[in-house]
Amino acid sequence: MSPTVAANGETQRPTTETPREPVLRVDDLRAYYRTRHFGVGREVKAVDGVSFEVRDNEIYGLAGESSSGKSTLLKAVAAAMRPPLQVVGGTARLRFLQAKSLHEASSAELAQLRWRKLSYIMQGSMSALNPVRRVRRSFEDFAARHLRETGAAFEAKVVAHLSQLRLDKSVLDAFPHELSGGMRQRVTIALATICRPDLVIADEPTTALDVVVQKDVLDMIRDLQRQSGSSLLLVTHDLGVHAYLTDRLAIMYGGRLVEEAPTEALFGNPQHPYAKHLIASLPRIGEEAPKAALAGGPPNLAEPPAGCRFHPRCPLAMERCRREAPVMTRVAPNHRVACFAVAGSA
């Protein structure tokens, strides 16, 4: 599938109407960390009722501070959970999956899905690749089974794919520590995208890189995505990356989404008080006034505040916010906000 081009020549941004079912539809997903030590149970509600969808051929961004639950959300969506993380409710439905939710699918079904339909770019750290295995071995270990090709055909495919990411085939014979940070990150991207999956999930793919290399890698991610027409779910706390790359953006706070809009609209006209402060905190050239900081810190997800999780820090907090949790409400086409003060009674 190729990107549709609108009359003004610009790649079409997703509109209100979605002709096809979205690639990924997450509905009221709740994923908790449940631990038990010496008979005392503890529950961390890292993802608590999140709904969104990722459409065809779009880059969907997910922003939030540390401990807002964005990495947990990714793990739940990728069905890459390990105890103590559990999905306790809601669904994550993938278009190319028979089962109603990812978490009801059998492991055989998931195995069919992974790499070919759904892939995961790991955080760009030193340990994304096995330090004692050559890059070629990583491709053989992780990707060969999904590509269903071996020997020379597999090798040719890998080399062709690497060259798309401007990597020489000599990296195949290198150990990860012999590559630069940018090369290593491009290798992990190549590893995750070699089967041209429909949906790629990326967890902070450029965090470990400096801005110059970061821009390079982001450009390559975008080129690759536009070429293959796949969808990308991108998680990072770096709003600059979101502004540069994503089509739509959602902001997460305390395990829930607070606002979702096309990226430009969100940066230009944020509605939720948290999103407003977040966007206002970005430095601008020529600005001299110091930034005002919100009092307090992100909520403890083991004992989140009742009602809206932002209310203890919110300048607009009302009595109702302490009792009820606001739901995501449409305030404009494609623009949803979870706030009583902004979206009215809802």
């Binding site: 990728a78 890459a80 004692v132 295995r133 270990d141 089974r145 999904h146």
Partner: protein, 289 residues
């Protein structure tokens, strides 16, 4: 691999001395194939002759040539150490990697067994085995018993590494790509722990050979298959030191001490080689600080 060995040989005196010692001992073990005498024959030469050209290490009171007898003894002792090391390595790798990766009740059960083996005193148990098995206590039986007793320390060490490997991203990638636990452990985690296993193998051989010599000297093993400890046992039986036949005890002791030192130096140099910082310092690449 060859380049690594060459560098070690050039830059690391411990490795150099250890390799030379072990090379000499291995060469001596290989000479057993050319021995003019069968290992169990007695009174094939004149007894109690001091070292000479005809008999470089002298002869025993049982009419055996000490040198040729030692070639058999060291071959058996060395093979014993290697068999125990290989068998116990297989056990400790399988148990350590699985316990560390799986965690939960698998880890708890395996480590409870593991700690039991660490805590129980091995020597009395081996003596007990001898008294129960008596004639059935062959060389192979002892090797298997020692292997079953000797895996625990390294399994703990390997588990500790596996615990850290389990949280690395490439492990997640492997799980996500659908690798089975066995594939993941063998193809991703095993290569990572191998260098450390090499180093501990030397220590394990030292431990098993030491125990075997101890048991043999006391006569708690199959005294009819020649080992270094068995030779010392027979020398003691014939009161070799009182009778002035010192060479019967001295040469086996010197040989086994050389074997211990060789293995120990190799283990030390391996340890140092695995740590890149000490390797660089050794090669003179690091400045002051």
């Amino acid at each position: 691999m060859l380049a690594t060995l060459r560098d070690l040989f050039l830059y690391n005196p411990e490795f150099r001395i250890g390799a030379i010692l072990l090379g000499l001992i291995a060469g001596m073990a290989a000479l057993s194939l050319a021995s003019p005498y069968a290992p169990l024959d007695t009174f094939v030469v004149a007894p109690d002759l001091p070292p000479s050209f005809a008999h470089p290490f002298g002869t025993t009171s049982r009419g055996q040539d000490v040198f040729w007898q030692l070639t058999f003894a060291i071959r058996n002792t060395l093979t014993f150490g290697i068999v125990v090391a290989v068998l116990s390595r297989l056990l400790s790798l399988a148990i350590g990697l699985l316990a560390g990766y799986k965690g939960g009740w698998v880890d708890r059960v395996l480590m409870a067994i593991n700690d039991t083996f660490i805590a129980i005193p091995l020597f009395p148990i081996l003596v007990l085995f001898y008294f129960v098995l008596r004639d059935a206590m062959s060389w192979a039986a002892l090797a298997i018993i020692m292997a079953l007793l000797g895996w625990a320390y390294d399994a703990r060490l390997i588990r500790a590494l596996a615990l850290s490997l389990k949280t690395r991203e490439f492990t997640y990638t492997g799980v996500f790509s659908g690798m089975t636990t066995r594939e993941l452990l063998v193809r991703e985690h095993l290569p990572y722990v191998m260098p450390i296993v090499f180093a501990t193998t030397m220590n394990n051989m030292n431990w098993s050979i030491g125990l075997e010599v101890t048991l043999s000297v006391l006569g708690f093993t199959d005294i009819n298959s020649p080992t270094v400890g068995g030779m010392i046992y027979w020398a003691n039986q014939h009161t070799a030191l009182v009778a002035g036949v010192w060479w019967w005890i001295a040469f086996p002791v010197i040989l086994v001490v050389a074997l211990f030192i060789g293995l120990f130096l190799l283990a030390v140099s391996m340890n140092e080689h695995i740590d890149p910082r000490s390797r660089l310092r050794r090669m003179g690449a690091e400045g002051g600080a």
